[in-house]
Assembly symmetry: C2
């Protein structure tokens, strides 16, 4: 099948991330989409940098109109940002019958109604997974996964800059201005951080989520927006004394009178999972009347996380253009002809870390014997616990945490350990995963 | 447009949940799907109970063949379970050109290859969001939301019975058999809990996720399956001493040699979000090469959570039959003609709880004045902190947490409090959400 041709407007962080991921995972993405997805043209004011980032593999222009007017291009990805020229280009792409993928939350929150109306009249799609919570597929969850529910409320940590600052304020007991400077030095906050720290970015995203959840037009101008600039270290401390963490939340709630739409620092009970989302991570908690609470967590920003969302939209649009309706999304996420034959590994070959508990004579040399057995099989020890024997007891528990090794090595080690005269009974073995 | 007609095979817990949610949220679901979805026929061995559960509103039969052979039915929902008659009925529905929605993880894990092959040859869809992690849209996330990624590994708490038992064992320091009996009494474990406690149910689900993630055929027979029956309370305690929690995880990993597919009790660091998933909740952690780690959390079982997933599949299939490809999923999740006009509430009308910090003279009567002001505005106090004044200080901080009230009430209260002679400066106000 003919490849789907894509035009990129802007090749900054997200644009180059999109180019790199499309290239690196080309084979898998093609199998999943049913046809290949090619970046046919890139427009950027900085042509030299654009050529560098694309290794000269793509036609690069500095006039974005060449992309939106290009008859060979099926989908335009808008990554310029802001609501000036980006708006004109998006509307032009739509008028030319092209689908649009965008990460531009500011544009959608302020001009989304006009853009979606134009797209609907023209019969093209505008997709925006990348506009809210980076790589977390929250738009898809709200729009499709939770479609059976009346959404009661949504509360999200949807700005990584402010969540990073709040985590640092709490961890280190510092005030806002000090941490902001640190964040800027580390690249977690922009030189002009206004949109982030004043809550505007979060409000753009909350506006979009509210519209999806409640089927209302985008009304960013009606959102209440309060950032973190006035937060004092003492309030973070007092909140913790009372069992709460402070997060900048984007909140939308359905009530009989209407929809709440607000962004502001919020105390939340520390036992909630979402209260423990730290650093630049994002998380969105959704309460639906059928499913109850669901939480979606992951990286809210960054080149490749955001590219992951952009490409998910590209594949969605491509699948529609490609497959007949019954096969829109292949059952196993790959086109059936392309099922992989990677073997399932036998258990002896898997690699993980282990927890071992053994019951031993409390004698000198026991530990040396056990550690020698592990060392001979190249199994490293990460941690160890040795309990004192109880009153009148001569035996005790030893607990060992090993580093990663193959299951067959642990099985061999356990056999040898159980054969020691000083070891009674079986060695208890549990597997351990760091999940990092 | 003509309604989509659905046939239900089995109206137990999930079937009645599906019926109830489809009815309760009929208007919203119809707007999102583009046409109404009607349960046209229900087959169940217990006709009386089926009539009761459906209020006599639906044709009820006790022969499932009447459903799968009914020419008016577009989609068959298989909720019988197991891989005996359920398999025959699913294959027959497919042969009759009907789409299938199922929650049957056992059937798919063991006969999925045959079923998907038949569906592909016939050109119908088989959807199974409800088969893994209940209402959490994890299948959609793996298949669509994360489609740009090479999935590196997946680790899931995907059996609520065993997670409930492990939470209780840890909370109360009890052994497995004691907690199992409690779980059965509370309805968290079946009379015959084998599939759950031996890890078989989790292995069915892990098998399905591995197939979606890696594009491999279902190979349940190759999965390593170890449940929680041999876990001792002492291991849970030692793990905690070392900074770990023990969870029954379904794990699949991609390695150069092949795919790991295993279910077993696993120590995980207590600082991971997934280590703090308690009770009957589920959570799936996915590591993708572009997006990094994403986590999906929610109810893994229950009538309405599972129905939420079933109906998401129904709406997906319906949208395909209805809309032209460019409008498959309306931008704002409702058909554009049906955008709601619920107003965005002004901030004065929102309802939430509050944290108030005020600086006061350390004198008798100050607290009485403040609490009187709040009481007069019907604002209840949930908690209070009063710090001792510092050395030589006559003033101190008082922190109050209020119960829910309207923003305008708090603003009025603060105005009065700030007017008290004994209160210095402004009252700091932060909003508080319990998120329960």
């Amino acid at each position: 099948m003919k490849p789907i041709k894509v035009g990129l407007l802007g090749i900054g962080t997200v644009g180059s991330g999109t180019f790199n991921v499309l290239k690196r995972n080309q084979e898998e993405i093609t199998r999943r989409a049913g046809r290949s997805i090619e970046i046919a043209m890139v427009a950027d004011l900085n042509i030299e940098r654009a050529r560098e980032l694309t290794n000269g593999e793509v036609e690069v222009v500095n006039d974005a109109n060449l992309v939106v007017n290009n008859p060979d291009i099926d989908i335009v990805i808008e990554l310029i940002g802001g609501y000036g020229i980006a708006k004109d280009l998006v509307l032009k792409a739509i008028a030319n019958g092209k689908h649009v993928v965008t990460a531009n939350k500011a544009l959608l929150a302020t001009h989304g109604n006009e853009i979606f109306k134009a797209a609907q009249e023209k019969g093209v799609m505008v997709a925006f997974e990348a506009a809210v919570a980076g790589g977390i597929p929250i738009i898809k969850a709200l729009r499709e996964g939770l479609t059976a529910n009346r959404i009661q409320w949504i509360a999200g940590i949807i700005n990584g800059t402010t969540n990073f600052i709040l985590s640092e304020m709490r961890d280190k007991g510092l005030d806002f201005n000090t941490v902001l400077k640190q964040a800027q030095a580390l690249g977690y906050a922009e030189a002009d951080p206004t949109f982030d720290i004043e809550g505007v970015d979060a409000a753009h995203k909350a506006t979009i989520m509210a519209s999806i959840a409640y089927g209302i037009p985008m009304q960013f101008d009606k959102a209440y927006v309060e950032g973190i600039t006035k937060l004092e270290a003492s309030d973070i401390r007092y909140a913790e004394d009372l069992g709460y963490r402070i997060k900048l939340l984007g909140i939308t709630k359905r009530t009989p009178e209407g929809i709440e739409l607000r962004v502001h620092p919020t105390l939340i009970p520390e036992k909630r999972l979402i209260a423990n989302v730290e650093g630049a991570m994002n998380a969105v908690l959704v309460q639906g009347d059928a499913v109850g609470a669901t939480l979606y967590y992951g990286k809210g920003a960054g080149a490749e996380p955001t590219a992951s969302a952009v490409i998910a939209d590209l594949v969605d649009i491509t699948r529609l253009a490609t497959a007949d309706p019954e096969h829109r999304v292949p059952h196993l996420a790959f086109q059936p002809a392309a099922i992989s034959d990677l073997p399932i590994l036998p258990m002896s070959e898997i690699v993980t870390s282990y927890y071992l508990r053994m019951h031993v004579e409390d004698k000198p040399g026991v530990l040396a014997d056990v550690t020698r057995i592990l060392a001979d099989l190249s199994i490293s020890i990460d941690a160890m616990l040795q309990k004192e024997p109880g009153e009148g007891e001569t035996r005790t528990d030893i607990i060992i945490l090993t580093h990663q090794t193959k299951e067959k090595n642990i099985i061999a080690a356990i056999e040898k350990i159980e054969a020691l005269a000083t070891v009674t009974g079986s060695v208890i073995k549990l597997r351990l995963e760091e999940l990092s």
